[in-house]
Symmetry: C2
Subunit: 877 residues, 2 copies
């Protein structure tokens, strides 16, 4: 921070950024271009990895260099000619330019752009920007009591608010109105330099740049804009620092300098993190409840009681022998931590929590929209590339340049295949479908591989005669398998992201929005499958495809499928979740989000062939836009969102099995916010302030996940945990209405003479006595029944109960969610009241104006004859 | 029609309606008021019944008469004073007035209102009305092939389109832009009389009326506006006539003369009816499939085969005796019509149909929004009554009058309790909750009563020795019970509607929107419960609470609960649905929608104390607004919507049991459209043209219903029909993989010695032989098992299968629905392309204008000094 911004170039005003050389005109935008064929300045084409989400709308991805790699056939002169033409066109629009080719970075020229007042006015009117008017009104926040409570809360939470000076006091707000030159008298134009802030100015210039035609396509520029130094300092101290982790984020400031889209991301992240606090607290309580009741849990007491002398069937063929149930005591007790009635409550709680979170976010978004004057703003329709290109009869070329600016990254594809028909597209779509299926099968194969690893290692360890190895078998196998899984997940994540990007490029989507959406969709599916397949296997398939003693299911020759521990697979699911969440977050955060950008920056600086000393020297004399050249480009928010969505999935989908998930997520997010903030403040070039009303497709994904979460949790509770069998036993089979005897009830009998030949234990006398009957966990008929080893009536009854529970749980929770959704209005009441009030005030304002006009008209018309005047709007009155 | 409009008053221009007495100024609105205390002109206060949805926003409900009944303490002078004041205020806004007190209707005065051009301009600007500009562009509907296909389709369906001359050819469209006086040059103002059409003019006047303040509240007016005679004729011929039932509706014309809200209703009804066509066709095919396969159905063949000599247990205590299964042959065959595999397919089809319908409607709505230039229009926030009233510090009284105009109907309540606190409201809310619960219990009680009726009649008929009575027992009981049910439903519908209205009035909602929503919500719940409770009972409870032989369940002393026929209750459910749907539609349509309005009109005319001859004479000389006075007020669209929603419920909720439901609904709706059209054209005063972008709460209700439909259908298929038991039998128990033996499998054994004392049949030898074992339909253990008469393993297995089917069906259908929802874009592609094109053209237009301005400026500035000019907007350029 210090090194970067303390000793800034002399052209920088601390509040408003740099000026033209006349010291009067502000620089609103800087374009960078190459002035000579670079011999050494060469970058590798962007690596796949975390950058996979580079949205084409952000033309800051150094496209000139990428472009240059593809089009070496264009000469410097040709380029200069086109640039000159473009600059002429820019001048035609009214912008003012200043060139700066004597920069200290060899080979790079800068074009500074200033938007004069009349251009700002015109464009603001076109863009229908809502600007504050002179009319100011009191904001009454409800009645007296409400106001007092609000003030009290504000006082209490004061230390949590960032120390950012707010220009308006909260009790007063200006009416906003779309800017219009005809209605200039409404606005406070006393200081024209301050009326449009720097973000607005640069986005206005960006609009003009997008619209300005450039006759030839192979032309591109790097775009910069500035954040004033004072603000950067403030953002750094009050936002991008770990020391303020407990504070709210200065969302207003973020929005002001990074635009609505980034502002919304951080606001969303803030809301999510905030909402995780109660979830984490309840999760910890549920966990503690499990800890507290572990000694009162009858099933685990029964398992741990050595008097219940239960002989269990061997866990593997030949190598394993019979074992005592009491040895599973530890796992049984541990299982209770995650498999107790509180878990059911927690599942329902988290389903409602997810709905509340969505609702809370909707309201927050609405409030932000209102505060940011976006209420009337409609999302811009994206330009359909094909439409514009084919529409040659129309005189409209204005968007072609825009198109070439921002889909530059893959226009070498587009140029050749502009008129893609269905049959042209078919191969790409087929490739996509095939590749997606292939990738998903790869994921499944990997999971199966890990299973085989576990089975074989377990068998090997069982066979080893070294007793220490045997005693720690389960723990060893579980942990190593989970870690292997984690590593594979992280590696595949990167590969899948690259494949998704490649596939989307192949498809040549018509618009950038469609590009982005398809990319997100593909990446989401692949990453989601990647992250959740092992977990889904553990939760729903492991231990279910085992067969029974005497008729085991074998895979790959003679490996028996994995069984669960006696108390179910919940414990293992829990370990897997824990390792995946913690590991993924730690590695991806620390390594990828901190480490790699640092390395990249270093590489970039080394590329420009200055050794560190020289560089530091230079750094002090470099001007802002020159320094920014070395910063990383802004690659969009999609990787950040994706990471959070996967985390949200972890938190909601399997929460029934791991109540501590919200806590882990919370801890991660507290770091994540400041990490992302640091990245935005110090590591990246300032992004174009993109307007957005909502978080777009991510909201739908969140909604979809929270719907899926309900059904997944229903299945986890009813099938993975022993909740339903316990309940059924207690209320139908138990002789005394308690769980006493439950363990015995869950164990079926097996006559050891029924073992398939060659599968009976090699050491049948391992326990010291001859075993005739061993027990295994299942609901099957005993050997002495007429249909031995068939599923028993209890099995079907419990299955029916499990399924009934799923139906009831799913529908009740869905109904409750819909009810909560319906109960909470999407627009906060105070905002809707205020909006209404503003509307009334606006009508009043205009009515007054009308009356004023009529009066002056009357006065004028009385003494003299009505005359025709140049402006047309009086015809009407 | 002829009598009403042929010989119209002389002040009526066939195209533009009436004029002021100067013959130049058009009448845009007419207010009616009472000029003397009426001695004889007195109407009953509105009856509860179909009018229960009178929305307070439609102030046409003759409130002056209602008011007058409540406030007789106000003298004529006082009223006149207030009226004068109001009229003065209207003049102040620029409107022009003409009084007409010498009307032919005694006691009623009319105030004609004309809006001059400048008022229209001003208000259009305030209301941000989108008006067509001069700029016209070609609408290209896709490529060449697409265009040809479109033209071909249009040609083929030409006879289906109403013969309404469309002013614009389809290939050209004007750009629309919010009207602004500063931008008048954009619009084609060559004919100022035609620029704003009559609907726009009257809604502009209505806006002004709403805004105009009237100091005292007890003042009200009846509001009229006109439809030109030519249009009425056209609407009558091309829309409100049964002879055009096969044609599309002239939605554009409807919207033009009745406003967007009414237009949307009829568009929705049209889409719904259109979508019912494929559903009806598939339904009929499914039904025919049932008919065709009835002879190949193995279970019914087994039942009908007299060689399967199965003795069934008696159906009632003592009076009934053992019976042969073969006697159930008829019912078994009939059941197959509605209980066959095609039904499952049809359920899934209808679930997807519902989603497609919603999607289709969304797209149609979007298209209409675009065609009607509503895309930028934001729904007006309703005025919060309390807020306005309490806000005395603010100088804004403009809405108070509006409030009194439209919540007039119950302002005697509001006046006293303006500042309602929570504790004031509590009793009303409590009443609501208690009453709603009470009403729902009443519905349950009625259903239970009908059950008792059925049980007792059946028992009585069984006991009678008259053989004819006994043979027709089932048919008689079923049919009479269903008819009784129907009559009760229709009566209770009216009562419930009245109660809902009363409860909502008690609650004193803060705004009219809230009033309407609460009313709709309550009415919906009550009517829904009323219509569906008997059906739900039949589908899910009947035959399930029976007990078993030897341990029957008794209600009210010694009545055994109803059993289903051997092939399940589906047949009875079907009969009930059929009678309810047909009966409800026939009675409610014919009696309530045609009969009652006719009677009301007659009553109204008789009230004005003219005998028929005089009246006819007078009718010819009456002017339009005088005639309109005798028409019924427009009472809102809610009853129409409600009727359709209940029908939609019938069509989707139990479609698994009655595949002909869509056909019945289709036939009904074809009539319904023309019936409603007739009502609008001839029976009702013209409603205020209310703007609306969507159908509001009804869309949510439809969505909710189609969600509920999925789960209800899942349960109907798995529990009410025998689909799952057949499937389970075929694939697990059947020795040869067919359904042979299924009937035997479903029947449990009962040892007649286990009858409870006093319940065994009086005539045990009725069949001619001694019975030791009888059979009954259930999955229970046989008497010789260790646990006799307990549920058998088959029972639990089939239950699990049923529940699993519910889960799979619900989730698969929900997933498919969501997928379809996601697949179909909400905005039709051509519309989104066109919208985008318009945006580009608009920018272009403005850019050209800008350049033009700059040029003229430059020209002006070159020869002479720049001067300050009166209009402000040049400051900027």
């Amino acid at each position: 921070m210090k090194t970067l911004y303390a000793a800034d170039g002399s052209d920088l005003h601390p509040h408003f950024g740099p000026y033209f050389s006349d010291g009067k005109r502000r620089v609103d935008y800087v374009l960078a271009y190459q002035i000579q064929k670079p011999n050494t300045v060469r970058k590798p084409s962007p690596k796949f990895g975390e950058n996979n989400f580079i949205p084409p709308l952000q033309p800051k991805e150094d496209p000139e260099i990428t472009a240059q790699e593809h089009q070496t056939d264009y000469h410097e002169d040709d380029k200069r000619f086109r640039r000159d033409e473009y600059e002429e066109n820019l001048l035609e629009t009214g912008l003012e330019l200043e060139k700066d080719e004597g920069s200290k970075i060899p080979g790079i020229g800068f074009l500074k752009i200033h938007a004069p007042w009349h251009v700002l006015c015109r464009e603001a009117e076109f863009m229908k920007l809502k600007m504050p008017t002179k009319k100011v009104y009191d904001v009454k926040q409800g009645g007296n009591v409400v106001e007092k409570v609000r003030l009290f809360i504000h006082k209490v939470t004061a230390p949590l608010h960032p120390k950012v000076d707010v220009s308006h006091p909260h009790s007063v707000k200006s009416l906003s109105h779309p800017f219009s030159r005809e209605k200039q008298h409404l606005f406070d134009l006393s200081d024209k330099n301050k009326f449009f802030d720097s973000t607005t100015r640069s986005s206005i210039v960006y609009e003009v740049l997008k619209r300005t035609r450039c006759t030839k396509a192979k032309y591109s520029m790097v775009l910069y804009s500035y954040i004033p130094f004072v603000v950067l300092q403030l953002l750094y101290e009050e936002w991008a620092s770990y020391s303020v982790f407990y504070k709210y984020q200065p969302i207003g400031l973020i929005r002001k300098y990074f635009g609505e889209k980034v502002g919304l991301y951080f606001a969303w992240l803030g809301v999510y993190t905030q909402m995780l606090i109660p979830a984490a607290i309840v999760g910890v309580i549920v966990f503690l409840y499990g800890c507290a009741t572990v000694d009162e849990n009858i099933p685990s007491m029964e398992i741990c009681d050595p008097r219940n002398n239960v002989t269990m069937c061997p866990l593997c063929d030949q190598a394993c022998s019979y074992w005592k149930l009491v040895t599973a005591c530890g796992t049984a007790r541990a299982s209770h931590l995650f498999d107790n009635p509180a878990t059911v409550f927690f599942s329902i709680f988290m389903a409602l929590w997810a709905v509340l979170f969505m609702e809370h976010w909707k309201r927050r978004q609405m409030r932000l929209n209102y505060i940011w004057d976006l209420t009337g703003f409609g999302e811009e329709e994206e330009v359909s590339v094909r439409n514009v290109k084919k529409n040659k009869a129309s005189p409209d070329h204005s968007h072609i340049c825009l198109f070439y600016l921002y889909v530059f990254k893959y226009n070498h594809v587009l140029d050749e295949k502009v008129k893609l028909t269905c049959s042209d597209r078919l191969p790409a779509y087929m490739t996509t479908v095939v590749m997606m299926c292939l990738m998903i099968s790869v994921t499944f194969a990997i999971v199966f591989g890990v299973i085989l690893y576990r089975i074989s290692i377990k068998a090997a360890l069982h066979m080893s005669s070294y007793p220490a190895a045997r005693s720690n078998i389960r723990a060893t196998v579980k942990t190593t398998a989970a870690i292997i899984n984690l590593i594979i997940i992280i590696i595949m994540d990167e590969i899948y992201a690259a494949i998704a990007r490649w596939l989307t490029t192949l498809e040549v989507p018509k618009t950038d929005k469609s590009f982005e959406q398809r990319l997100i969709f593909k990446t989401f599916i692949l990453k989601f499958v990647n992250a959740f397949t092992p977990i889904v296997y553990l939760a729903f398939f492991r231990g279910r495809l085992v067969g029974r003693p005497g008729k085991y299911l074998y895979v790959v020759g003679s490996y028996r499928m994995e069984e669960c521990a006696h108390s179910g697979c919940l414990m293992e699911l829990c370990i897997q979740l824990c390792i995946t969440m913690l590991g993924k977050q730690l590695i991806q955060n620390n390594l990828f989000e901190i480490g790699i950008p640092k390395i990249k920056k270093l590489l970039r600086q080394r590329k420009s062939e200055m050794d560190t000393k020289q560089e530091e020297e230079l750094n002090k004399t470099l001007r802002r836009h020159e320094k920014d050249h070395f910063l990383g480009p802004f690659i969009g928010l999609n990787p950040e969102y994706m990471e959070m969505i996967i985390q949200f999935g972890m938190v909601t989908l399997f929460v029934a099995s791991f109540p501590l998930a919200p806590l882990f997520a919370l801890l991660n997010n507290i770091i994540e916010i400041r990490l992302d903030a640091k990245k935005f403040v110090t590591e990246l070039r300032r992004p174009i302030a993109a307007k957005a009303k909502d978080i777009g497709i991510w909201y739908n994904l969140l909604r979809g996940l929270s719907k899926v979460a309900v059904i997944v949790n229903a299945f986890v509770i009813s099938f993975t945990s022993d909740f339903i069998p316990r309940l059924v036993y207690q209320y139908t089979y138990s002789p005394d209405g308690t769980l006493h005897g439950f363990t015995n009830h869950t164990l079926a009998f097996f006559n050891v003479s029924d073992f398939q030949p060659g599968t009976d234990p090699l050491e049948p006398m391992h326990l010291g006595y001859k075993v005739d009957m061993c027990r295994y966990k299942d609901y099957r008929e005993p050997p002495w029944s007429t249909t031995p080893y068939d599923f028993s009536k209890e099995f079907w009854a419990i299955l029916a109960a499990r399924l009934a529970f799923v139906i009831v749980f799913q529908n009740v929770v869905m109904l409750m969610s819909d009810f909560v959704d319906w109960l909470i209005p999407d627009i906060p009441k105070d905002i809707s009241l205020q909006m209404h009030k503003e509307k009334i005030l606006m009508v009043e304002l205009f009515m007054k104006e009308e009356q004023g006009k009529r009066l002056t008209m009357r006065e004028r018309n009385t003494p003299q004859q009505p005359r025709s005047r140049p402006n047309s709007h009086t015809n009407c009155v």
